[in-house]
């Protein structure tokens, strides 16, 4: 049943990504050049609604939260490497799958690149990555742990801040 729920979530996610044009690498590049903030605001909206809902639900039912560990150096280095690839190709590991479903040819090259990247990673893991990811490893921490506040309160507060930022940010930015 779990696998079926995951499939359904994937279909919905793929359709939403396609409709907001996040699977268009040209759209992603416009967002990263800060000319058009549709995808960034879409993501912030997703996160705000998701966090408020997930933590409110956690008050009445057990949730399958799964916090990723904060090994600061590895997470930051990984993000910096990811950003270069994101800016260059205009795809992320999920949107290139959606793009392939839509019939985008460049998405197939991104997918192939992703498989090659994963293969190279498995070769580099023991020697380079595992030691890197031992640096500044704070484990599975959340903002609620850091602030010593109840998670529901932090989720409502941060969710409200995200919604406020989404409301205030322009969607299309006039270029000089």
């Amino acid at each position: 049943m779990t696998l079926f729920y995951a499939l359904l979530v994937g279909v919905a996610m793929g359709a939403l990504i396609q409709r907001v044009r996040a699977s268009s690498p040209a759209m992603i590049a416009q967002n990263l050049r800060l000319e058009n903030l549709v995808v960034i605001k879409f993501m912030a909206m997703t996160i705000a609604v998701g966090m408020i809902l997930a933590y409110l639900l956690s008050l009445i039912t057990p949730m399958h939260f799964d916090i990723k560990p904060t090994y600061v150096v590895g997470v930051l280095v990984g993000g910096l490497v990811f950003g270069v690839g994101f800016g260059l190709g205009g795809y992320c590991p999920g949107t290139c799958v959606v793009g392939a479903g839509e019939g985008r040819k460049d998405a197939l090259f991104a997918l192939l690149g992703g498989v090659v990247g994963a293969f190279l990673f498995t070769l580099a893991f023991s020697s380079f990555i595992a030691p890197l990811n031992k640096l500044m490893d704070y484990g599975k921490i959340t903002l609620a742990d850091v602030l010593h506040l109840p998670a529901v309160g932090v989720a409502l507060g941060l969710g409200a801040i995200f919604l406020g930022v989404v409301y205030l940010l322009p969607t299309e930015v006039k270029q000089r």
Partner: protein, 173 residues
């Protein structure tokens, strides 16, 4: 033509991206409720592992990372299959057309677009695996769950992502 995305969001009439984002937020919370947070990039090494176990089993079993990631029979794999189906259905049922336009000024030929997509693909999955997640696992699910790692990853992604996209567009080649 009035762009609906530029009108202020109100409860009565949300712009399309806000509506889609709100629905995605509900889907993401429903995912945490039913099986776990969404995540995509781990499926790439699991796929590599499944292939290598078939063609070079000794090498596959000697690789600690492939052993750690395990088999493809995982919810995340079905999520990725769902992405493919969702993208296909949404584009066939009246979604925006999948154009193949250049992404930067330097992409003067289709070959250069494919090259950038390929190199970009290598970097996003390599980077995501260093960090332990990608846009979905770290940024969407991570920040949704208030994880500190998601915020750090997002800061890194947007720092070099914005820099790279701006440099490639203005300079040209």
């Amino acid at each position: 033509m009035a762009n609906p995305a530029t009108t202020a969001p109100t409860a009565a009439k949300l712009p399309p991206w806000a509506m889609l984002g709100a629905i995605f937020g509900v889907v993401s919370a429903a995912s945490i409720l039913t099986w776990g947070p969404i995540g995509v990039s781990g499926t790439y090494p699991r796929f590599v592992g499944a292939v290598l176990r078939r063609i070079v089993p000794d090498m596959a079993h000697a690789n600690p990372y492939l052993e750690k990631m395990g088999s493809l029979i995982k919810p995340e794999t079905f999520l990725v299959i769902g992405l493919l189906i969702g993208g296909f259905l949404a584009s066939r049922l009246g979604g925006p057309a999948a154009t193949n336009e250049a992404v930067h000024t330097g992409e003067t030929t289709t070959g250069k677009r494919y090259r950038d997509a390929f190199i970009g693909g290598v970097l996003i999955v390599f980077g995501a695996r260093i960090a332990g997640g990608c846009t979905s696992g770290h940024i969407i699910s991570g920040i949704t769950q208030l994880s500190v790692s998601g915020l750090i990853f997002a800061a890194g992604v947007f720092a070099t992502g914005i820099l790279t996209a701006k440099m490639l567009h203005k300079g040209g080649r």
